[in-house]
Amino acid sequence: MSTAAASPARFEDIRVGDGLPRQTWTVAKEDIEAFGDFLYPATAQNPERRGNPHIDEEYARQSIYGGLFVDGNQTVALLCRMATDWLPPGSLVCGFSEVDVKFPNPVRVADVIAFSGEVSAKTTEGGRDRVRLEVLAQNQAGKAVAVGAICACVPRGGEMNNQGA
């Protein structure tokens, strides 16, 4: 992977092979619990909380994982953060984005996760400028915990970026 490129201001500034600045996350139990409360609100009747291995610590301990582990949705959120922080503002949120991520291994408390990405393609189609990023999250042992691609539509200068087409 190439070295990290400075955040591009425009589509024209992005080059295939550009590397995104790596980001890291040392996973705390509190991170997992807090995101669990966001995704599965603690209402009396919420059926998504009972026996949820991201919230119910005793249940998780007795499961095949032996303890709490990170919801893949949180890993997606952090991959999106890496892309959002680097791409021109509005790129992921203006509509027309695509995310495709697999989760080959679990993320556990105290893991140190490194997020990385690289531009693999640039296209202009139907009046839209698009960038494809290959993204990867690995734990401290070098095992992939998330791997896939994020495709973003990069707004052109002067567009009201988060208004859509």
Partner: protein, 162 residues
Amino acid sequence: MANEDTTPVYEWAVAEVGDSVPPADIKVDPDRIALYVKTSGDDNPIYTDEAFARSKGLDGTAVPIAMAMRVAPTRRSVIMKEKGCKHPVRPTPFARWQCEFFAPLKAGELITSESQLGEKFEKRARKYVVWHVKARNERGEPVLEYRSTNCWEGAKPEDRKR
């Protein structure tokens, strides 16, 4: 005598493509966005700082795309309940998330989503289910579609060591 829960478990063999629930409406609540930013780690100021977002050319704060999972949830537990079943008492690992957006999410708008079991498949002695979710905004425009894959049966005990 103790009451035993005789509710059938939504096992892979019971799950049928097309299992679904009626559409649900969920508002893109600014407070919920703030909670996402606080808890997820995805905390770019374009989501919360109006002046910063405008300085970057946006017309206001943006909604993170990963909010999709909250404003258009799979509601799989509800799907199982509609079928008269309960969730298996074991983790069903999240294997893949594929999401496509057709329009931006906007703070304050109402999102209507439809969820169903869209696919079942087997691979390397593991059995998977794929939940399909489609969401529209209050103008009826498609906003997003995603497929969320879970390993439903066959997650291995060695996963404890991975």
